[in-house]
């Protein structure tokens, strides 16, 4: 296959403060190829891409870009050679317009001191047109949705005449439809001879678009295979070095009384309207829908993070929840979407993070009993198999999957009756993911009523008893486990007028 190599790396090593992040990574990228890079969190994918983009310098090994040997590399140099990167989180300046954001990366070193606004807008419009969206270049980047921001990033890359495009989890924040749009773009670039390195945890995506797949484990290249020659189970085995029995451990639980019921909930501030649903003890109610369809907003409303006048029925009794503290007092837990921003306090120790919502259990007369707290922390570290030497290390020293387990431990510690999980496995490696799924099932078996918000359809389908599908900040419909299909969920999420529905039904 290697016709014309754009990128060749061999035996790249890199260590941080004595910790080997890369212990010999070899990688090739040909013209017009989509080469997927997969591995658990901490396998070295991000470090490798950062070396290619010049953000980091390799300790040893060879790197060749477009036939040029690279010794001392800088981001500017990498850009000049045609390397562009798209990250999981778009890195736009929110207070600048789309056109200015695009211009910033392209107009470097241009002569003259005055801005040619007309040309700026034209250039932006043309680039956006090439990626197939109709965005107003005068809009502020901060007002765009995540997907739109991601597309602006891609437009930037095209404008820079990128020959090598590195994409690090570009679909993590996108909805299925937006993902399809991205894939169409990837196909277009492939035609144009752009080489793409595609990093993702979503294996089904990778199999859809990748030509070759390289598996990294513990900083080493484990295998490089043609995408056609390897199936999902095989990939997972290569990544974790062991085989996973079943991907979703969902077990049937006899359902109890209704734990939480909401009738015609309205929250004008967040745009929620006419939301009605109920969850029984032991039941897992999935919440599917596009990003921004109102799922996180509902979670925040239920948990008292946004005030709302509609009553909520807990065990049949109407209550009003005005603050998270009240919600916790009523036995409700909420694992927020973004663990770094909302979930954990990264500077604090694991045991302090774990006890944060249940401090009354480890304290007396307002005093935290640190011994008791530490013991509780150690217990959860052991029980959830969190990879840490002790519970007294800072949360920021852990990898993403382990951080998520710490965030979950905090809520297990309050012994909740109702648990809201918002994207509990987002950006989590495959091994931790199935462990988290197992924990969710165990919670349900203990009689906890669970709301599971997820943008990953297989997860919703595999884990939930019923699935409420959101559209336009209300529930568009609820499907039972047996009747739910990806196509059915998508049809509800997009609304019937959508052409994708037919596509989905045909599939």
């Amino acid at each position: 296959m290697p016709t014309n190599l754009l990128l060749r790396a061999s035996a790249i090593t890199k260590s941080f403060a004595g910790v080997h992040a890369l212990k010999g990574v070899s990688f090739e990228l040909a013209e017009g190829e989509v080469h997927a890079l997969v591995g658990e969190n901490g396998a070295g994918k991000s470090t490798f891409t950062r070396i290619v983009t010049g953000a980091l310098k390799a300790d040893s090994g060879e790197l060749e870009i477009c036939g040029q040997k690279i010794a001392h590399h800088s981001p500017q140099q990498a850009r000049a050679l045609g390397v562009a990167a798209i990250h999981q989180q778009p890195l736009l300046f929110p207070h600048l317009t789309v056109a200015e954001n695009i211009a910033l990366s392209l107009e470097n070193g241009e002569p003259g001191w005055s801005v040619n606004w007309k040309r700026r807008y034209e250039q932006a419009r043309e680039l956006l047109h090439r990626v197939g969206v109709d965005l107003d270049p005068k809009r502020l980047a901060g007002s765009l949705s995540m997907a739109e921001q991601q597309i602006v990033e891609i437009a930037k890359a095209i404008g820079a005449q990128a020959k090598i495009l590195l994409m690090d989890e570009p679909t993590a924040l996108l909805t299925d439809r937006e993902v399809d749009q991205l894939f169409r773009l990837i196909g277009q670039f492939r035609q144009e001879g752009v080489g793409m390195v595609y990093i993702s945890h979503r294996l089904e995506e990778i199999q859809k678009i990748a030509d070759r797949i390289t598996v990294l484990r513990d900083g080493r290249t484990i295998a490089c295979k043609d995408a056609a020659d390897v199936d999902r189970g095989g990939l997972i085995e290569l990544m974790v070095g062991r085989s996973l029995a079943s991907i979703f451990p969902k077990r049937d639980v006899t359902l109890g009384e209704t734990a939480l019921e909401v009738r015609n909930l309205n929250n004008p501030r967040l745009g929620l309207h006419d939301i009605s649903f109920s969850v029984k003890r032991g039941e897992i109610l999935g919440m599917a829908g596009l990003v921004g369809s109102g799922r996180t907003e509902l979670a925040r409303t239920l948990f008292g993070l946004s005030s709302c006048s509609s009553p909520i029925y807990l065990n049949g009794k109407p209550v009003r929840i005005g603050s998270p503290a009240q919600a916790i007092g009523m036995g409700m837990g909420y694992l927020p979407e973004d663990r770094r921003q909302h979930g954990l306090i990264l500077e604090m120790q694991l045991d302090e993070n774990i006890s944060m919502a249940s401090l009354n259990e480890v304290s007396r007369w307002g005093m935290v009993q640190r011994g008791k707290e530490a013991r509780q922390g150690e217990e959860y570290v052991r029980e959830l198999r969190i990879k840490a030497n002790t519970a007294s290390v800072a949360a920021q020293t852990l990898s993403g999957g382990n951080q998520q387990k710490v965030a979950l431990a905090r809520w297990l510690a309050i012994h909740p009756q109702i648990m809201i999980l918002d994207e509990p496995t987002q950006g989590v490696d495959v091994g931790s993911k199935s462990e988290i799924h197992e924990l969710i099932v165990q919670m349900a078996e203990r009689g906890v009523a669970i709301l599971l918000i997820s943008s990953e359809l297989p997860e919703v389908l595999g884990m939930c008893d019923r699935i409420a599908v959101f559209r336009d900040r209300t529930i568009a419909g609820t499907l039972l486990r047996d009747e739910a299909t990806q196509a059915g969920i998508m049809a509800l999420a997009f609304g019937h007028a959508d052409p994708l529905l037919q596509e989905a039904e045909q599939a």
Binding site: F16, M348, M356
Partner: protein
């Protein structure tokens, strides 16, 4: 950088300064000078305890000097109009708490950025006081006002006890009280603290009220050192306090500070002014040297952050 390293560095600087003073001067270590030095800087220490908590939550309070001045005048006015001295002290402390609570209200509930809110209260309170007193000092204080009617050494002992209690209990509280945990959590990541059930607004309100109260208390203890009270006391106090806390290693972005560091920062900044006098250096240099120390301290923090960010480029 580990806070212990920062503290060790501060300690070494202080020891070096002391050695220099012992070598080049006489009289610095006399009981009279040390007592005087302690009493003069006691307000800085007390308010620094509150300021450290404010900075821990990621806020700042630049109105403490004005609150200090108002509490001093309230103390004097009450005492000179025949209110018992102990009651005057209580009233002055209460005024401090109230003004701090006003700051807290504006910042936590009206959501005005703390630098703007306390800048406003700083100017408004200071100028309001100037208008009220017309610049005149408060005199005609009753007998038994000075030193609370105690001996000077007795009063100094009282102040030492107060300072030790306030710093010690706060340090313990920050480590072991649920409230202390809430303060640190709020400063580290306010959104995450809220999501864990901590009422961040009440935390912010609380630390401002406490800081106001400490400004009031220190004003009471400070005012009885003299037999008249200037209407412009505490001018520039906020800068010295903030400088001491920053030098002590508190992250100005919140979430990280130690009591040991703060105490050492106060000691260093307090000694420098006096040391210059003893070393025969023009007092004009004091502010410049203070500025230099702050710059070095903050630069050390910045370098630390850069190194940490670099180390953090481990894969996510």
């Amino acid at each position: 950088m580990n806070p212990r390293i920062r503290e060790a560095g501060l300690l070494l600087t202080i020891v070096a300064l002391m050695l220099l003073l012992a070598w080049r001067t006489t009289g610095f270590f006399s009981a009279a000078n040390l007592t005087d030095l302690f009493l003069a800087n006691m307000p800085v220490m007390m308010i620094a305890v509150g300021m450290m908590m404010v900075i821990l939550t990621g806020e700042i309070d630049i109105s403490v000097g004005s609150i200090f001045a108002i509490s001093s005048v309230v103390m004097g006015k009450c005492a000179s109009t025949g209110v018992p001295i102990w009651l005057s002290g209580l009233i002055a402390c209460a005024v401090g708490v109230l003004l701090g609570a006003l700051n807290g209200r504006l910042i936590a509930y009206v959501r005005i950025p703390s630098i703007v809110a306390t800048l406003a209260t700083m100017v408004a309170l200071r100028d309001g006081l100037r208008w009220y007193t017309q610049g005149s000092w408060i005199q005609g204080l009753p007998a038994g006002f000075q030193w609370f009617g105690m001996s000077q050494s007795g009063f100094t002992g009282l102040c030492v006890v107060a300072v030790v209690l306030i710093t010690g209990l706060t340090a313990l509280g920050l480590r072991n009280l649920r409230m202390g945990r809430a303060i640190v959590a709020t400063g580290s990541n306010r959104m995450a603290a809220c999501a864990a059930g901590i009422d961040a607004r009440r935390v912010v309100f609380g630390v401002f009220a406490v800081t106001g109260g400490l400004a009031g208390l220190s004003a009471v203890l400070n005012s009885v050192r003299f037999n008249q009270i200037p209407s412009n006391s505490g001018l520039g106090l906020e800068l010295k306090v903030i400088a001491a806390v920053a030098v002590g290693g508190a992250a100005i972005t919140g979430g990280s500070a130690t009591m040991t560091g703060t105490v050492l920062g106060v000691i260093l900044l307090s000694c420098i002014g006096s040391a210059l006098t003893f070393l025969g250096i023009n007092a004009y240099w004091e502010k410049a040297i203070q500025g230099g120390i702050i710059l070095i301290a903050v630069a050390a923090d910045t370098l630390k952050l850069q190194r940490r960010d670099h180390a953090k480029t481990l894969p996510a």
